[in-house]
């Protein structure tokens, strides 16, 4: 199954290319050379753009102004991230955040620093931090969240949003305010 974590894997490829450009190949590092093992420093990239990925009815695009890929911790640390993905055109979702962490050996990612997202139905949400759990294909916010939909504003302490079904769960001090028509 295709998952947003493929973006992270793409970053691994980009990282390898960057290393190759620096005359340091992965194979050199992995073979039994007598030379002392060189510890790769985090690779820094700017103007990161990954888009056009299409598979299993899901479009995915990842944009970031800069990225630091740490092969040791297998973590891609992105700044000013914009993520767009959808199961179908009607369920397209765009999420942006100042900070994004992609696990290179997994499919999950975490966004923080003030996350905001919009859906095709002109709904939008805000949270300080969210995580995407690929196993359940769920967006989770363990901190207070605010959702806007038409004239309805909902707030809660925690949120889970199932991307395929658009099922929304809210916990703790749920507050739904419906403005007069």
């Amino acid at each position: 199954m295709q998952k947003p974590g493929r973006a992270a894997r793409w970053l691994v490829g980009a990282c390898c290319a960057a290393l190759g450009a620096c005359n340091t190949s992965i194979s050199d590092l992995e073979n039994g050379d007598a030379r002392p093992q060189i510890e790769m420093p985090p690779v820094e990239m700017t103007g990161v753009l990954f888009e056009g990925y299409h598979g299993d009815l899901r479009d995915l695009s990842v944009k970031a102004t800069s990225a630091t890929v740490d092969m040791k911790t297998k973590l891609a640390h992105l700044h000013d991230v914009q993520i767009g993905f959808a199961d179908d055109p009607n369920s397209k979702m765009d999420i942006s955040a100042p900070v994004g962490d992609f696990h290179l050996d997994g499919d999950d990612f975490a966004l923080s620093g003030g996350v905001s997202g919009t859906t095709a139905a002109d709904e939008h949400f805000k949270s300080q931090a969210i995580t995407y759990v690929s196993k359940t294909r769920t967006i989770v916010s363990d901190v207070p969240v605010e959702l806007h939909r038409s004239s309805v504003v909902m707030t809660a302490n925690r949120m889970e949003f199932e991307v395929p079904t658009h099922k929304l769960h809210l916990w703790g001090n749920v507050h739904a305010k419906v403005k007069p028509q």
């Binding site: 139905a121 658009h166 809210l170």
Partner: protein
């Protein structure tokens, strides 16, 4: 003016409702109960609140629903349902609905306001001294009606010293009228003293109504 005389139009309206045929039960149409500010009502009172036995909501007011948990599901056709659970409270202007479980149904994504609200479990609706208790309640925002139903126990409406009981109590939320159906009991008790009633030295002394006596046995 005596309490009994003031409530007479309401009681008459309830009696009409109580005598409704079973076929009428499916039609949540409120009878022509005492309209707000009817002739003979005490002029010093707010006509839209104190002299109303039923409930009335303000469509132009903000609706706020609070709870411990909520779950929203969107149908493929765009209809959305939000289910609120645990310590649910819905408030619109001076009307409050408390319950254990509440389902708000939105007709389409552009509609900000739910067209239907269904509440279950220890439902209590309060407004301006009127308190209705029932097991489940259904509010139709389009038809501007509400039903308060109980299974086993009766639905009740209490206001000041007066009570209405019935299997189902229907409210016309736009007119502020009420209709009780099924094993209806209406109790009208003498108030000790109504601080809001205007002094009328020419008013004849009314005989005290016997307390706790059912006024309207089910027809």
């Amino acid at each position: 003016m005596s309490v009994a005389r003031k409530l007479a139009p309401c009681v008459l309206a309830l009696l009409v409702g109580a005598s409704a045929s079973p076929a009428d039960e499916s039609k949540p149409e409120a009878p022509a109960a005492a309209p707000a500010g009817a002739p003979g009502a005490a002029p010093a009172r707010p006509p839209d609140a104190v002299d109303r036995l039923g409930l009335k909501f303000s469509k132009n007011s903000e609706l706020v629903i609070t709870s411990d948990e909520a779950e929203g599901v969107k149908d493929p056709d765009g209809k959305e349902t939000v289910i609120f659970t645990k310590n649910v409270k819905a408030k619109q202007a001076d009307m409050t609905l408390d319950c254990d479980w509440l389902k708000a149904m939105y007709p389409d994504p552009s509609a900000g306001r739910p067209d239907h609200i269904y509440a279950k479990g220890n439902v209590v609706i309060t407004q301006e001294g009127s308190i209705a208790h029932c097991v489940e309640a259904e509010v139709d925002n389009v038809a501007c009606t509400a039903e308060c139903r109980s299974q086993g126990n009766k639905a009740t409406l209490h206001r000041e010293t007066d009570d209405v009981e019935g299997n189902t109590i229907y409210f016309d939320l736009c007119k502020g009228t009420v209709k009780a159906v099924g094993d209806v009991v209406v109790r009208v008790r003498q108030k000790d003293k109504d601080p809001n009633a205007p002094l009328d030295p020419n008013a004849p002394a009314a005989p005290a109504a016997p307390a706790d006596k059912p006024k309207a046995p089910p027809g």
